[in-house]
Symmetry: D2
Amino acid sequence: MNKIPAAIFGASGMVGQRFASLLQNHPQIELVAAYSSDRSRGKTLGEIWRIPEIPLIEDVSSLKLEKLDVEDAAAKGVKIAFGALPADLARDVELVAASKGIAVFSNAGAYRMESDVPILIPEINFDHLNIVDVQRKNRNSKGFIVTNSNCSVAGLSVALKPLVDRLRFKRVFVSTYQAISGAGYPGVPSLDINANCLPFIKNEEEKMNREARKILGSFNGKSIDPRDIEVWAHCVRVPCRDGHLESVSILLDGQPPSVEELERIFDEFTGVPQELKLPTAPQQAIIVRKERDRPQPILDAMAGYPDRARGMAVSVGRIRIDGNLLRFFCLVHNTLRGGAGDSVLNAECAIHEGKT
Amino acid sequence: MNKIPAAIFGASGMVGQRFASLLQNHPQIELVAAYSSDRSRGKTLGEIWRIPEIPLIEDVSSLKLEKLDVEDAAAKGVKIAFGALPADLARDVELVAASKGIAVFSNAGAYRMESDVPILIPEINFDHLNIVDVQRKNRNSKGFIVTNSNCSVAGLSVALKPLVDRLRFKRVFVSTYQAISGAGYPGVPSLDINANCLPFIKNEEEKMNREARKILGSFNGKSIDPRDIEVWAHCVRVPCRDGHLESVSILLDGQPPSVEELERIFDEFTGVPQELKLPTAPQQAIIVRKERDRPQPILDAMAGYPDRARGMAVSVGRIRIDGNLLRFFCLVHNTLRGGAGDSVLNAECAIHEGKT
Amino acid sequence: MNKIPAAIFGASGMVGQRFASLLQNHPQIELVAAYSSDRSRGKTLGEIWRIPEIPLIEDVSSLKLEKLDVEDAAAKGVKIAFGALPADLARDVELVAASKGIAVFSNAGAYRMESDVPILIPEINFDHLNIVDVQRKNRNSKGFIVTNSNCSVAGLSVALKPLVDRLRFKRVFVSTYQAISGAGYPGVPSLDINANCLPFIKNEEEKMNREARKILGSFNGKSIDPRDIEVWAHCVRVPCRDGHLESVSILLDGQPPSVEELERIFDEFTGVPQELKLPTAPQQAIIVRKERDRPQPILDAMAGYPDRARGMAVSVGRIRIDGNLLRFFCLVHNTLRGGAGDSVLNAECAIHEGKT
Amino acid sequence: MNKIPAAIFGASGMVGQRFASLLQNHPQIELVAAYSSDRSRGKTLGEIWRIPEIPLIEDVSSLKLEKLDVEDAAAKGVKIAFGALPADLARDVELVAASKGIAVFSNAGAYRMESDVPILIPEINFDHLNIVDVQRKNRNSKGFIVTNSNCSVAGLSVALKPLVDRLRFKRVFVSTYQAISGAGYPGVPSLDINANCLPFIKNEEEKMNREARKILGSFNGKSIDPRDIEVWAHCVRVPCRDGHLESVSILLDGQPPSVEELERIFDEFTGVPQELKLPTAPQQAIIVRKERDRPQPILDAMAGYPDRARGMAVSVGRIRIDGNLLRFFCLVHNTLRGGAGDSVLNAECAIHEGKT
């Protein structure tokens, strides 16, 4: 099979670099261009590389960052674009790209809440991909935009999915412990976060609520009916490098399952990407940790660890039942399952479904 | 006035050292002996000092750590002992000390849940001090034991007190961001916590629930009727030095007040220690932070900062109302208001009440 | 005595804030204006405060940051300005201010190496202050500019001064462990320094050599003859908040003194500021640490600790003699003795000498 | 080829775990037993695993830690033992093991300075392996002991080797920035190192000098004639996880080469392990970094990065020439090239030479 030519919009940031690391050696997609909106233009990806645990292959390392130019991408035959631009820039660029027939898989927040744009986490809502047909019609566009979710809500939504399918509850209390890579680069000044916690991340708490409702909602053929739940979050930055840890408390209606049943429910959770054995799909969408002090960012969010999940599995641990109260922790790699990794998986879904 | 001779049981640890820092230059209490249960015996307090921001005066710095010996304390005329021993050691030592007429103000958990021992946070439950009369009778003892609370619950309870007096609610969801000094010394290995979070602190979540119920309960003349609330906690260690940050979510019954009213309620909260202007009492028990990203451990838990509260005030910030959901953050200095500072304040209350 | 009206040029940064903290309650100087070159204009000093261990008094906290305007300063009667601007901005502003009769005490590097401008560390080179008379004549100016040194070289030079006066050597090998506050705010991105070391600080190694030669040089009535030594430095950023630690190795010509003699030499080192008991002078310019693992940033660079030196003393420890090799560590608070504190002390010297 | 049965003595610590990670899937060696001297006995390697970036294969993960017992190892047919015990324990155990015919490759310091025991870094001193014949005779032993060096000296010695072969100098000034994993587990208390530097590591500075002299010395057929150089070190612990950074200053006799020549000299440095393409040998023993701010622990000491050197290459950067002064930084992965990795490479050398 000929590989599909792809570009990254915004290749110099943390998520953009994750896109590059995931696309090297990809069996279906070939990275042919890397665009940057900042002063790293002209440098190669290798020169600006900041992901120590994943070395770049020569072809990708020597790719030069170019000035953002959708015409140029189209001219290079790009069929798929991965979006890692700031939201305000993304708003224009992604729409133009879609109008030129490019399938855009974006980490940007610009279009997430539009009614004809899916927030796709394919283990949860594979069928939401079909909104792109509505979107094409609405916008009279050959291409389309598919988004991945906010990084914190990605981990939470995956953990909630097997629960909403089996248990009754409406309120989810969550507190986050978010790594510094989630703020991009240069991101958080070291004087603010060194040996400190910052109990504020702009718009994050609101995003967690509205995106979870949409991701866990159902496609009615025209748009998404949001799930009737409330996610009430406290979002906090902590001095970790990668991995957003989240504490979750849920008051259940009715008799709760046992901890063992819950472990089984999480462990057995699987979705279309696993069924289709898509290249970027983790073997298990959720990894249950039974140790008393897991998951931890250092141990459970390093790319490549464990089980070859390469940052695409969500870890769940410390599951506790107390009356009808369910508590647990989940952990998501914020730039992989919570960012670039999810969009690459989304592209693989679209390729499989013949949407691209 | 002659100062009351006092000793520290367990003077080498983090809380023990905080006792020493608070007792130097104390107007009513004079530190005459420092006992240690570990291998730091024979060294002076100055030699083992680990609280950079508070230098010791010469008299206290040169005090030698002695082998733990209650007889020796009694022989030295010690009338007040401050307890900072591990719980298992504290169990024996504190009881013997009380039997010898010593008033023990303890940070240890050994006796906190005994029915005739108060967990005293005098801004909240000054009258609980009167249980010591019951205790003396029960145990036929001239001295008595008064405890301070677990460090995390101290911050939460102070923040909850003005709320339980005005609003109706039964469930409190809390997630903690706890500093490493809370685990003592040597405490947490650096390999475990460097750039990491640990989502487990032994027994901490259970303590938060049961101690909050007792602290906020009411004295019926014989024992404490616990407050009918549930504190559902997730406790996490983070790589900060001092100060436990806590996210709090409460579902209110009935119409909630506005954010402005809540700020006023917290700001105006005051108690007996403020009224009596006790030496260790903060001017304000609660400091309301109106910035969008406060409180923070580095900015709000440093001893001496701000308002000369010297780690005895609880900071509250990011107050949000959403329907009947109230959310906010609070921050407590874990070894001052959440440890040694509270016990010194308790001793001042007992002195004022003529209990010692 | 009426206090001398003073302003800060560049009051929003780390050094600018240190100036504010040092000038509150100053017995001779009154802060009447705070100028900022950045977007913090319009805010009060209290609103942008980032020095947790030193609370601001009300008068200083409510001072509003104004647009940088030397005319305005002159109109307000400002006689002394403290400079904390970036070097390029400082170049213009400081010269204009001096021309208007203002005595400028600057942390900026712009004029440090000019032949008629002193780098004053008054314990070392009090008499260099007299170059300002040459400067006034040269530049036909009523005011003048006095600079403090680079932060790393401040600690090294103080430690070297008693040695160059007694021992013969020409080469100093030094490696630094520099805190993040030395890079200002926002300064170092947290992704670069979290759990990492950065072995490069722009121009720092060159500055250490040329400034040390000038500071330790001698005033010949017209200019400074540099000291004939070489400082060969490696400069590294480490994830500490305040305090630059430096390892120092010196090959001595001739018989070295004993460690005890060296401890005495450092301990007895004193200068004009100590003699004059100037308000900002530390009781001892050098504090000798005899513990085997000192000095440390956390324990020895916190403002106010120890000995009320308030960050103005240099700590020296781990003194070792091995043949004719002398090794030791020194530690300097980078924004106090290595920045704002030194300039305030310089102003006090100038006031005493009737230069202002 | 049948694989050689091997054991780890002291498998629970940081270096012991590194041994396990390196021996899984080893082409010549099979791990058949893991012994531990501490309370982790009875647990599996998987249960105590603390190396997030390298997942264990099932066979190794399920290996149970057994009570240290050399007889048991011999009974299990163990021919090679990797030593990661504390020095005092190692002293007895390793000698007994050697007497029973086991070839011991040890990270412990116990025998490093014995005249008939090599400190082997095979790129530097492959022929020192032949001392084991002297050792066998001396000690009338079928097995033998080969040690790897102290972690800091490993990086320095590799960087010095191509220099001592070409340039004349006797004095090396070095300052270290050592990661916390170098102190083992639990190792450094977090309260000591969080946002701090510790300018003291017991015996480390002495080890650097005496081990470098031996490693770079020459085998005279009976023992090692030490190289005539002096390594004058300052050793400092910094809050990084893995990787010891070192600043190096050398005064050269005679005309120094250019920076470009030095880069070439480092880059072309190669040794017997590279020639023999031994399984654990890095492709290049030294990786030259030309960026202005490298090497860095986070970017250059992560296992597997870069060039598949898996922590076995030493990175050298910031090479500067100033007169006859040569300065550079080097970085070594302290538990791989500076520990377990070197000993595994040593075992491969011994296997190749038919010593086992």
